[in-house]
Subunit: 140 residues, 4 copies
């Protein structure tokens, strides 16, 4: 399955709605395709200006390495030099904290959703609900 | 005036609708704020994967230098070394062909819309109509 | 359709065989997937050491922009500043000379083959034969 | 002795066969020559898309510094700032975890094999068997 723009939009909207209902801070969300290329991004009003790079970095590390960014954080806790090196290898574009969620079709990774704006745990919570609202399956 | 996400969405949707009505190829569109930071981006189904960098580069050069990317193309025709140097100074993120449209509030630049996917002229055509549909004023 | 490693190998081998039969210089060939990520690469004995970057750059520009690298060369002849800018936007990874061949499944781009080593025309000739031998369709 | 493409292929195939027999996850493997330049790379079906950079980083650090990447990991445990600095000096292209295996001819380093996809220990296990199958000597 290839992600469509409609699905990406639905995931981002669902994420923002979930964040709104939970009273989270303004969120930013990105959807990357299976090759790590940007499909859609939105930053809610009231966010700090640099959110694209954070949302992108969470999702990009996830899709490139085939694991949610929470797993990259676990690895960074144990081997900080490894995750620092990953950043070099991927041109600085890996953010190893939760909020980079794999989008899966069965076992296959078909993209990733990156969410940022509130705590990392809340980012994940909103993102998982957003994927659900879009009829997509996430692995956070 | 500060651009809102709703305005950015409306501009992107309006651009895509104008492109669809004109029979253009699938488009990608980005909205940057007055500081050159990404507010929203969407890539239509059927686009090549690398469109983010092109849309971004058209809009980024426009807002950073305060002139539409068509003016940067005119400058590049006369002084290619100058535009090459701009690219160095801005980390490679300037694409000097039409499709990077200033969004203005009176004399003030409040952001830029970057459009890519069809010919540069068609990109501009769709983008100007999209801004119009969003109630925004463009300078292409 | 998603390219498999077996298909990528067959394309590379077919390219080298075609080059051998035609008496071309040692070739290097790369296959990228639809997202621009490396699937396979080989450099024939007797090549200069830096061939990876050339083969990659021909194929990467093709898949990211959805046009064979020969079309990028045509564009570079008319608007050298535009192709210079593309290189900035894609981190220096675009080589706008023939030899970056789209791999297509009907209208869809499913990857790209990059060939380098002999003249650009001969690179294309070997690559197209290699894709054919692998049962794949190229657009050069 | 200079590594040939046939030897590189044999090492990569041997690595994949060893991984297959051991039930490892899909692997990716690269062979660099004595100058640190890419000779061959393959990514098995089912791998995450970003494996080239990891396989390359393991092998590149090994051959550039003349020690297996396991030794770079040991160094990183003691002096993380040193390995971070290496990464800067080598353009981000050093991954200091096991799986970057020196290929030796007597005392001389003639290249490196980089393996990634399963645990670092399993990557090394498959890679050493692959070199063996290719009639080459590894130092992991």
């Amino acid at each position: 399955m290839t992600l469509t723009l409609d699905q990406a939009r639905a995931a981002i909207r669902g994420t923002f709605e979930a964040g709104g209902e939970a009273g989270f801070k303004p969120l930013s969300a990105i959807v990357l395709d299976a090759g790590g290329n940007v499909l859609a991004f939105e930053r809610q009003d009231g966010s700090s200006p640099g959110k694209f790079a954070i949302a992108h970095g969470k999702a990009y590390g996830a899709v490139m390495l085939g694991m949610p960014s929470s797993a990259l954080m676990a690895r960074a806790e144990k081997q900080p030099y490894f995750v620092a090196a990953l950043n070099g290898a991927y041109g600085g574009a890996v953010i190893p904290v939760p909020g980079g969620i794999l989008i899966k079709d069965g076992d296959a990774v078909i993209g990733a959703l990156g969410v940022t704006g509130d705590t990392s745990d809340n980012d994940v919570d909103a993102g998982m609900k957003g994927l659900s609202a879009a009829g997509l399956t996430g692995e956070a």
